[in-house]
Structures are given as structure tokens and as C-alpha cells.
Subunit: 478 residues, 2 copies
């Protein structure tokens, strides 16, 4: 059992222990019946007082995660869990030490079938031109069936890298194919950067709230995550500057355009200030740009990336696989100099390169004359969904609730009265048959608890309608 | 600049420093002009004497990796390098600390075009039934074009996991779909296991020689790698047992069937002893099974895996993407209990799941009635190539040279007289227009230098013929 205590963080040490253990229990990393360390030994390991551990264990017992048996110790005991019993022959495995950080929150949601997943930030397959993509695929394999059995380069297919180079110009990015790395989606890109440059004791600064799976990756590297709040113009640069001066962070992870989950667009002035702040610091920025293609008609054109203003090679730019052909899981990373070479090495360690077939399909979609038309249709469909959801929320007349009106992307960010805990609300919603993502998931440390993210793109239209109704029903009952 | 010194390892500390720095220079992670740490500061950092650093730097200067400028310091200076100058604006990047281990040897080989790559352990695309695979692909997408735009499960497509469950029976593996994880090739599987269970200070035991990219992954986690020699029956279990007792390793990585690079098959008795050795230890075995389908007619049937004898969940079994549809880069991992759950979490952190399209293609190939026929043809083609290469070697009458006669796989392992350094020989071979993999690449620490691996599957038949001639020409000139 690995618990990391950080005395500099907001939450109390009791809360940190509680969180670490309950996370592991909820995701079944500590199955029912597992014995927890004794109070004495945990206190010694973490160099904290016995009373602190007692308080944490009492809290865990109160919330029905564990039971404490006098003279025998403390055991995981989830009454509500319907997991099948772990067979005896694997019991030894529980003492096999691992290096995993907090259990991924998202695992908690996977179990629920029969629930309309407005929690998931993906785009419904029916919104893509599947027949068109299939035709592109056919051309690719007819042209050269051997790509099905050929290993590609570690860096990625050269022709795809050329296509990306010209595709990225619309976001202001001027690069060349040898500075482009093909990756398996943005998740892998974040992971490659983290494993190359982030290690134990390093500080990583992120927006708060931010993309949950990125928090998990940095935590997994042993880094301390600091979060900076946002206002209407993006990340609060005054706080960012203070934190950079004080902590000398290794990396700043940002989603400057159509931020996940809030949809906020960082102003160009803020973007310049961000670059100024890190200009003479030994610190890189990781710019995640998941869906700047998906702007609505309230915006005139694609958004300018932070990378486009980067003159010194301080920004690593990544774009994932959500918008183009999601089934291929192909994304892209752009960087310069030795930073790029090192990330390329990490890609080699990680998987020796992305699958060639997926790359070729994406290349052929990127080079097609129909691409713009296809993106335009997607933007319109998403904009209609967004308007639908906003209208339903407005008409519901729920008191003390507010929400964002995003200019693009696939999410709406809702704020409830301060006394509402959306993690608890999620349990009610799941019983109703709908899910969302509670704000706590988007924070590394002491979270804001009264917000939630609704994704309006992940399901078919009927499910969106049903899900919205169920959700509004839940919100009304608060 | 990160250098790790291990006082318990064979090579001297001078040699370890030399190796660490020259590796980084060769792979351009330390470009020309980079300033090395001062002798005083490096000695202090590593807690070693000034004279040790002086000796290492002198050696590096002698071998023309660096120049030492009196009063100014030591600088990387590769006269032979024709790298373009790194632009000034990225110079700051050289002081940005990274967590990379030794530079991947393989990068050194990628640069050489016009060289017949008998160094690469892949199978030539022309040996696969590409049209058949293309047809399967067509069926998949016609059936449901939406798989092109759908995210799959983190664990992998359920139908593919079912197919794998029945495919793996031939290797004696009885499992079920919920114990099967779909991965992006064996490289990712090794990486997932390493990041979940291997950390700084842990010991990992491997065969010596072994698969080079696996060494890199464990090193990248900060582990100490110990290697155990092989004899005709597989890993030397007497030495293995001693090391397990002494070092309490976290993981044992093995290729028990058709070992890479030697082709050795671990006997069933040895397999039982290996399991006995770890039976009551807090230690897992990672069994890599790249190509046990590729047995020649000297063997009666597929080989039995170590996993098939595992009664306690001690073995994590992985099978990569080389034999089935390499362009898809889809492989599989089998494990049980909490070990499996933890690796599944790591897969989520790493990339949120493998691409669905690739999985569906592989599923359709696995379920096809033509699969056996296709594998039989591949075995015959490879066996003919192996015989060709062995015959050429025999007829060349080179004195003091021996080689393996593999019962399967795609490599031959050649032993030259003890005074030959095959890393130096590779430079000659590249000038001749052919490459192989020198034995030093297969060792984590002080290597055996007089062996080399020839891959007979990676190129078309004409290139194999030409490459073999060029290679024999080189060997004759020793």
C-alpha cells in the first residue's frame, strides 16, 4: 500500500490518507478482505502521529469502506460491493508493491450499463461521415495492401507528418515534418512528455479544473500538481507567475483553447503573458488542443494556438484523435530541438511506433478535399446540440444554478449552490439512469464540489433528449 | 545530465560514466557543443573521486567524443557527426533535465539508408497474405463503418478478447476474456508492466543476452538489471535461484520459447524449476512469447508456455503483433487477480485503449478458417530462408565461427572468435551495405562482444541473398 503525503497541500493529512485508501478500494485495487497496515506501522511509515491515522481509519469506517476488528486489525469491507470473491490462490498478490497513483476516477463510471453517459467527453459515431472514411480506407488498402503487415517508423509515417504540417497551419503553427511525432491520441502524448521530463519531486502546474486523466499521468510520475484557477480570459496569470517563481515547475499543462471542462478561451494577451512568464525559466509548456476545430458560429475562425506565438521552443503542442478519425486513435505532437529528440526516444521505448494502417487512413482523410465540408457539418451538429441543452436548462427554471455558454467544444460546465456535493448527486443521477462528471474529478487536491460537466456529444439524439430530461429532473430535486 | 552509477555491477565506474555519456552523444541527446558538467561537480554529484571522472573524460576525449578546453571545461565534439547545427534559440533546452536511460541503440541504425537491414527482427510484408487480410478488413468496415469513429474499451474489444482466449489454448493457456488485456504490441505490454510494478532500486532479472528494448524499458524505470546466461535447455536455473535469493527481484523477464536472440527453447523441466524458484517469493515473471507459432518441422507442434504451468498467478504472459497482422500493432497480455487490475489501470493512463479498427481486423483474422493455412505457409517460407542462410554460412568455410540452428523464429545467433568486437565489425558491414545486431546490444551491463544476430525474415528474397553475400564477405575478412 503506497500513500504519498504532501504537507504543503491544501487537504489535511487525515483527508489525504482517507482519499488514497478509499480511491484504491473504490477501484478494487484493494479488494474486500484486504488487511490494511496497522495504525502503528502506517504512522511510522508516513512519519505522522498515531492520532492522525486513527482519525483517517475512523473516517473510513464511518463511510463503510473498512471495518476495524479489535486486536486483529483493519480490513476492507465494502458492503455494497458485488464483486466476486478473489480466489485464494491470488491472495499473495496483495502484498506485491505497485507504483500506481490515485485510482482513475473514470473506472467508477465504467461499471454502470443502462446509464446515459453524459459524463463521457467523446463524439457520437453517427456524427462522423463513416461511409466517407470507409471509402478512404478502401483506397488506402487497395493502393497497397502491404501496409496491413508493415511496421511503420517510430516517428510516424512521413506522408502523414507532411499532411499534419499543412493541417496545423490553420492554428497558426508553422512547423516541418521532422518536428512532428505521430502518437496514439493525446493521452499517449501527455504520457510521453511526463515520462521524459517529469519525475518525483517535480512540480507540474495545471489549470483548476483540468482534464482528469492528465492529473493521473503526472501523479503517476510522482510529481506534485499545483492548480491555478481561471477567469473569463483564461488561466489567472498573476497566480501562475507567483507559483512559477516560488516552485520552479518542470511543466505547465494547459488547454488554452476551448478549455476542458469549462470551454474558456484564453485571450491572446494572456497567451503572450504566459510565454513571457516562462521565457527565461527552465520550464516547458504542454499545450493540449483537443478540439479547436469545433468552434461555433459565435467565433469567426479557428483559434490561434499558444504554440504559434512560441519563438523559443518552450511549447510542446499536442492534438488528439477526437475530432478526426477517433477509431484510429492517432494524434500528433509538435516540438523542437533536443526536447523533441528525447520525446521521440520515449515513443520508441513505449511502443516502437503507431500502427501504420491507422496513420494511412488519417492521412487520406486529411488530404481529402471533403475534409472542410465534413468538419463544417460536425460543427453545425454540435452547435445544435449545445443550443438544445442550453434551452432545456433555461426553461427548467431551477433556482441558484448557472452554466457556461461555450463557443465550441462538446461540454457545458454547470455551477450549483455551494452546499451541493456533485459526487453525491452523481449517485442519485445514476439511479435515475444518467451520468455526468462531478467537479471533484477535475481537481488534483482539495476540490470545488458544487460543479459538474455535461457532455452533449457522446450519445445519439434520442439519448441526449432522455438524458437531459433525467438530469434536469435530478437537478430540480436538490 | 543524468548518470547512474552502480557499484555492484561488473564494469568499472570509469566505464559506466564513459558509456552513459557516449550513449547520449551517439544518439544526439547530447549534441555537438554541449558543455559537460565540470569534473569537480560530476565527482561531487556521483560521490566519486576526481581521478575517476578525469579518467572517464580522458577516455571520451581519446575516442573523440569530447574535447577538453583548459580553463573552460569539456564540450561534446564529434568530428564525424554531420548533424545540422542546433539552432541557437533551442540551446537552453540542453539544461532541461530528463529521465531517459541509455539512448536506444536502435536509433543508431535507423540513419543508414541503402543498407540491407538483417539487423531488424520483423517479417517482410510480402510473406503475409495481404489480400486475405484486406478482405477481412473490408468485411469489418462494411459490417459496421462506425467502428472507424468509435472509441473502444480500455481493456480492449470483448469479441477480440474472446478470440484470443481460444487462440491461446494452443500454447496451453486456459484463460477467460476478462483476464485478457489488448495492448499495442509487446513493447507496450512490457512498458505497462514496468510502469506498474518496477521502480527505482528494484531488481529485474533477465536472460543474457535478451531483447534490447526490454532492457531499455526497465532501465527507464530506474531498476537494476541482472542477467543470467543460458545453456541449451534455457536460462541457468542454478544462477537464477542464487540471484533470486540474494536480490529479491521484483520481476523476471523471460522469453522461454524460441528465445530472442538465441532461439533456445527452455525445457519443460526448467520451466517447472523456474516456477518453483519464485513460488513463495514476492516476485512476478513476465513471459514474452513473440513467435511460438513460428516453429519449424524439427518441432512437432506449438510450444508450451510457462504460463500454462502457472497455478498461482505468478506469470504475466504477453504476445506481440509480429506474427499476426503487424500493421495493426495489436498484442495481448494475460494475468490474474489484482495484478491484472493494476495493469489495466496503467493501460488507461497510458492511452485509454487500443484503436478499435485494428482490433476488429485482428479479430476477423483470428476467427477466420484460413488462419491455420496462413500460418503454415509463413512457417514454411521462414524455414526455407533459415536453411538458405545456414547453407551459405556452412559453404563459406570461415574458420572459428559457429552459429545456432534454430527450431523456429526469425533469427540466427553467430559466435565469432573471442577477440572480435562485433560493434566495430558492424561499422565495416554498414560500409559494405548490410547490417546485423552486435551482441553488445543484448546486454544491460558488461557485454559479450563477439556474437551477433542475423534476422533472416526482414527483407525480400533478393535482398536476403545480397545481404548474406555481403555479410559473409565481411566475416571472411576478419
Amino acid at each position: 500500500l503506497k500513500i504519498k503525503i504532501d504537507r504543503n497541500l491544501g487537504p489535511s493529512i487525515v483527508r489525504q490518507i482517507y482519499q488514497a485508501i478509499s480511491d484504491k478500494i473504490m477501484s478494487d485495487l484493494l479488494p474486500n478482505g484486504s488487511k490494511l497496515p496497522s495504525i502503528r506501522s502506517l504512522a511510522k511509515d508516513l512519519d505522522i502521529s498515531l492520532m492522525t491515522v486513527v482519525a483517517a481509519y475512523n473516517l473510513l469506517e464511518e463511510d463503510r469502506y473498512i471495518i476495524q476488528k479489535h486486536g486483529k486489525g483493519s480490513f476492507v469491507h465494502r458492503a455494497s460491493s458485488n464483486q466476486s470473491k478473489i480466489e485464494d490462490k491470488h491472495l499473495w498478490q496483495h502484498s506485491y508493491h505497485d507504483y500506481l497513483p490515485r485510482a482513475p476516477f473514470s473506472n467508477n463510471l465504467i461499471q454502470y450499463k443502462h446509464v446515459i453517459p453524459l459524463s463521457i467527453s467523446t463524439i457520437y459515431p453517427g456524427l462522423y461521415p463513416n461511409k466517407f472514411i470507409e471509402n478512404q480506407l478502401r483506397k488506402v488498402t487497395e493502393n497497397d495492401p502491404r501496409i496491413l503487415t508493415t511496421y511503420g517508423d517510430i516517428q510516424g509515417d512521413l506522408e502523414l507528418r507532411k499532411e499534419y504540417t499543412s493541417y496545423l497551419k490553420q492554428f497558426g503553427i508553422i512547423t516541418e515534418p521532422n518536428q512532428v511525432l505521430v502518437v496514439n491520441g493525446s493521452q499517449q502524448a501527455i504520457d510521453l512528455v511526463a515520462r521524459t521530463f517529469v519525475g518525483p519531486g517535480d512540480y507540474v502546474i495545471m489549470e483548476g479544473p483540468t482534464y482528469p486523466a492528465a492529473i493521473d499521468v503526472f501523479r503517476a510520475r510522482g510529481a506534485s500538481v499545483l492548480q491555478v484557477p481561471l477567469d473569463d480570459e483564461g488561466i489567472r496569470v498573476d497566480i501562475l507567475e507567483e507559483l512559477v517563481e516560488k516552485y520552479n515547475p518542470k511543466l505547465i499543462y494547459l488547454v488554452p483553447n476551448l478549455h476542458n471542462p469549462t470551454g474558456i478561451i484564453t485571450s491572446n494577451l494572456r497567451k503572450k503573458i504566459i510565454l513571457e512568464i516562462v521565457s527565461d525559466k527552465n520550464c516547458m509548456i504542454l499545450e493540449d488542443d483537443p478540439w479547436s476545430e469545433l468552434y461555433f458560429d459565435t467565433l469567426p475562425q479557428p483559434l490561434t494556438s499558444l504554440k504559434s506565438m512560441d519563438k523559443k521552443g518552450k511549447v510542446i503542442y499536442i492534438k488528439g484523435s477526437k475530432v478526426l478519425v477517433p477509431g484510429c486513435r492517432i494524434g500528433v505532437l509538435v516540438a523542437e530541438g533536443s526536447i523533441f529528440q528525447k520525446i521521440l526516444s520515449a515513443k520508441g521505448y513505449s511502443d516502437l511506433g503507431s500502427p501504420l494502417l491507422s496513420q494511412k487512413i488519417l492521412q487520406s482523410v486529411l488530404s481529402s478535399e471533403h475534409l472542410n465540408q465534413y468538419l463544417e457539418k460536425l460543427r453545425i451538429a454540435l452547435s445544435i446540440r449545445k443550443d438544445y441543452l442550453l434551452e432545456k436548462l433555461t426553461n427548467s427554471n431551477i433556482p441558484s444554478i448557472s452554466w457556461t455558454k461555450p463557443n465550441g467544444g462538446i461540454n457545458i460546465w454547470v455551477t450549483l449552490p455551494e452546499w451541493v456535493d456533485t459526487e453525491a448527486l452523481l449517485q442519485t443521477a445514476i439511479l435515475e439512469g444518467v451520468s455526468f462528471l462531478p467537479s471533484a474529478y477535475f481537481f488534483a487536491n482539495e476540490p470545488i464540489r458544487n460543479q459538474l460537466r455535461i457532455s452533449f456529444a457522446s450519445v445519439d439524439e434520442l439519448s441526449l433528449k432522455l438524458g437531459t430530461e433525467k438530469l434536469i429532473h435530478c437537478l430540480k430535486r436538490i
